[in-house]
Homo-oligomer: 238 residues x 6
Amino acid sequence: MRPSGRKTDQMRKVSFERNFSKHAEGSCLVKFGDTHVLCTASLEEKTPPWLRNSGKGWVTAEYGMLPRATGERMKREAAAGKQGGRTQEIQRLIGRSLRAVVDLEALGERQITIDCDVIQADGGTRTASITGAWLALHDCLRWMEGRNMVKVERVLRDHVAAISCGVFANQPVIDLDYLEDSAAETDANFVMTGSGGIVEIQGTAEGAPFSEEQFATLMGLAKVGISELVTLQKQAIG
Amino acid sequence: MRPSGRKTDQMRKVSFERNFSKHAEGSCLVKFGDTHVLCTASLEEKTPPWLRNSGKGWVTAEYGMLPRATGERMKREAAAGKQGGRTQEIQRLIGRSLRAVVDLEALGERQITIDCDVIQADGGTRTASITGAWLALHDCLRWMEGRNMVKVERVLRDHVAAISCGVFANQPVIDLDYLEDSAAETDANFVMTGSGGIVEIQGTAEGAPFSEEQFATLMGLAKVGISELVTLQKQAIG
Amino acid sequence: MRPSGRKTDQMRKVSFERNFSKHAEGSCLVKFGDTHVLCTASLEEKTPPWLRNSGKGWVTAEYGMLPRATGERMKREAAAGKQGGRTQEIQRLIGRSLRAVVDLEALGERQITIDCDVIQADGGTRTASITGAWLALHDCLRWMEGRNMVKVERVLRDHVAAISCGVFANQPVIDLDYLEDSAAETDANFVMTGSGGIVEIQGTAEGAPFSEEQFATLMGLAKVGISELVTLQKQAIG
Amino acid sequence: MRPSGRKTDQMRKVSFERNFSKHAEGSCLVKFGDTHVLCTASLEEKTPPWLRNSGKGWVTAEYGMLPRATGERMKREAAAGKQGGRTQEIQRLIGRSLRAVVDLEALGERQITIDCDVIQADGGTRTASITGAWLALHDCLRWMEGRNMVKVERVLRDHVAAISCGVFANQPVIDLDYLEDSAAETDANFVMTGSGGIVEIQGTAEGAPFSEEQFATLMGLAKVGISELVTLQKQAIG
Amino acid sequence: MRPSGRKTDQMRKVSFERNFSKHAEGSCLVKFGDTHVLCTASLEEKTPPWLRNSGKGWVTAEYGMLPRATGERMKREAAAGKQGGRTQEIQRLIGRSLRAVVDLEALGERQITIDCDVIQADGGTRTASITGAWLALHDCLRWMEGRNMVKVERVLRDHVAAISCGVFANQPVIDLDYLEDSAAETDANFVMTGSGGIVEIQGTAEGAPFSEEQFATLMGLAKVGISELVTLQKQAIG
Amino acid sequence: MRPSGRKTDQMRKVSFERNFSKHAEGSCLVKFGDTHVLCTASLEEKTPPWLRNSGKGWVTAEYGMLPRATGERMKREAAAGKQGGRTQEIQRLIGRSLRAVVDLEALGERQITIDCDVIQADGGTRTASITGAWLALHDCLRWMEGRNMVKVERVLRDHVAAISCGVFANQPVIDLDYLEDSAAETDANFVMTGSGGIVEIQGTAEGAPFSEEQFATLMGLAKVGISELVTLQKQAIG
């Protein structure tokens, strides 16, 4: 029995609130249950130095948590003077995941920065971030299309979404909340596209190593879950 | 004529959403029009080193803006590796303002940290922060009272709220939004208590110096506005 | 009775030692009693990036204290690896105060940096800094005039000086020294021009909030004091 | 055809030079072809703060590259003033991988830090680091056993080793060198134990997303490769 | 011919102004011509961690330059966020030089920090710092003796002073000013005690290497000069 | 008697392993007994800003120690977020020593960076670094000569090598190892050219000051030792 009473293959309620932010070219408040992440997409008419005059653009991401998004207040990274290893790992993952479905040449020499800021955390902040970031990116591109800068369909080749799965109390379950995440023996994050391609897999044994079979079960759960998330993304923009 | 069509003595619509955050002991999403600030209060059972064994507690504040809270994306302070001068100035102001109405001995040897994170900015983020922070602090103390740790009335001696006033297009106006703030000749922030005492005054000539009479007019506007804010705080906790 | 035996409206002995520094284009050692600040003005033939090709120049300030300027040695900010919030607040204030009396277009695309370094502190370092910085700036402009770069009168539109006032032992007093400052119930800094315009007001209740009347009294003291400081500035350059 | 002429399932020549360092309690210079990593294990008789009085110890890792380990000189992280995101990601991975086979209670309240410093890089530095780090850790524990501090077999429950696999020129291949890594469509790192348990999987689509079948092929290659690495570890300590 | 018209073995006018600082336990403004350094000694009743319970104290130094101490304004180290290599090298040298004549056991478990802040620079700031620091240290110990904490004679075993010598325009000269220092072929700093012992020698070929004979000449000049400096120190405290 | 059994004028076994690194334009693993330093030379086709369009190039050095190069693990400087004072002092010394024998105009507008990374430390790391760095620099220039970029003989005017000498157990000895270094009363480093010119002298009294005669003895030892090192360098490149 999961602490939340969910079935092993049942995700939390997922919602997307588009245009959450007045200023950003694209934005989305994504909720996976009590995990709430604000994703904003910011367009800049310049690329990082290493892409100058390459004809290509760039999509990158930054990630942050409000200090009291969590059960105990965490030190503010700006006050600490640096971003921790976990923050850097997550923002690199979000950026790679989005770039996997973007045609950087079709974007042209521009940069889109997706900021994923966790307003409230209850497990799965990185997967919610990726799933919501896709919508913010989509809306930014739609905004650009309205100004004849790009064709959305040429830049954004597919959906991308992410979910965590894990072994909790000897049961493979999907979309771990904080209680499950803290106690899980194995924790895996999957990032997949709308057409079912795998973009990123991160599996970690928190306690005992896991077997190939266990991992296959987790991947099976993830495929179904991500397919649902993509359907929700389609409804959101439909 | 103000860009928003407001009268010179008309504040923006102000609202407080208490218990916005699942985890914090007290929290409030405060809105002054399109300026939205999430205030959370976090209780720790320890004081800063200089108060150890003094019998007194401490109330402090930290302030941050999400990178795309503003019209143009700002560099994330955590990525920059330090908090800017403006951030430090504001968070010191919030902390001082709250401590002006707190009995630190009645609080006991504990620290309450108020995080004010600007989700969306449209001028007046520091005054909205102070006004919302008071509610987060109040609710944190109420939470503590429910656990017999303190008496709210003994710790929190009064309300505190803040408003900006300025001279815009030669007219003294209250509660400047971003458009007004960028063009104002004079900009003043007032922090006052529920009983009308002044806690903090910050007046700055952006262009030409201002006169004593102009300043008196601004203070007059502020007194009325803060009195309204205190009424709204009372309704919110009523 | 004030610890120093001064009357409530009596400032400390103020002196200016111009050309204190062999290298700087303008410099002044300003003393407000035992508070000694070295102000140097450094000219650079370039502006900050955001003013490039604008035809305008910039005046900015930096502030520092020698580690043992104070009663107890303070950690050297260079060794700590960052400037504290108080330092940043003060140097921003000095810069704003000077810019209030400078015509940046008449200055041309150049930057003048005023360094205010506290050699010895006894309260009122920020007000002494502003008052002395004006002289360093003036002398830098005079140096430039001697090289046909600017006309001093066109760039520097007025004097600017500053003084602190506060409520000490229930008495409004001017120009608080350290003993008074540590014990003051209310502390206010005023920055005004030679023609009596207000450039900046910062009033803070250290203990109980203060009333509008008290504040008016402090401002009255400040006006007289700043007028005296401007007279002393005029004598110094006369 | 692979640039090196290796077969798709052929790893580079792997060697371990134990006791490479005169000072460390355990050390190993591991070579995967032209990738050379020096792994040292340092014992401290204290644990991190969060484990104090828990009866448990800790194993952690740090990772670095000499500036000219690579084809182009990289900025020295010590001079840059911080460890980059990639460094932090890798050292967290090494630490997690080792802890997966360590009984922290049997270790007792001590910390072992494994430093993995890349002397020369040619792809696969993180997998070589993990594989060599296990030997450094083993030898450190053997050193401790010689002093009756622990029993190696009780602390170190299994081997752990790692290998990268990827899709290069449409072919799944094992142990990518730099040339292959830069051009690979998919890149996956596998960390497994001597008994075949999975500790960590990291799979990334560098270009197009990959399929479940492709991923299964990569995992198949990795299982065989890691089994060989474990055999080599056994020979090295045999 | 030296730019200043001095003879090759002629030092600049040296002066010491004791008790320059109101707050410090010992202080001295030392001038070597136009090089002016404020040295303050600050006593703390605690030692660095590595000396705790050793019965020994510590003497350390910090060094800084005001940004416009030099001909061109230098970036403030506090704003840059770190002390440069030159600063660290000099402050380590000052600390070592002083400790060479201090009996740390006789000092007891206390720390004295000497801050050497260059108010104005014209070459030879490190040698002026050492020479003035000795006086600040002496006066701090005298202050302590007045409180029966130490006996000056037991703690301070000898004088220490320093001078630079160099080869300028093919001539060995003493006490280089900035013009000479910038053009010198060889630059050497000597730190010696009152009894003629050598504490530190730093010789650097700026251009062509120098010979043993040249070096011996420089040392000869230094011996005479330092002997004069010690005489001046004795007069100052006499 | 020296701990190692060496005679007072006997250096440790010195060896150079050229081309240690696959990637660098020049590289050398230098060993002075158990002190092992990897020196790599990296060529960049650009100069530091202050030399742009001067026709001159630059040679600079960076220095680092692996955390467990020493008997006790030292904190990794990249993790600490800055290079310590000792590191900066040493890398400045290495750079100066090399530049003393380089014709920067003959090098042309390029920069060569020598990285000296201590793999294992047993005293004398800075002198081993200088001695090995010369070989890395030489080989880099030879590599450039092979591409018709420079003539080695025109750029590299002489050899440079370094050795430490000190007074250990009242005996002047050469090439101190760690045991001797920790206990030495006096420690001096000498950097000299192949033709016997002195490039740098650093002498420090660790305990009691030393006399001119003692210093002359140390210099005598150093001259013989450096002459041997230069012979070894010549054999290495012969």
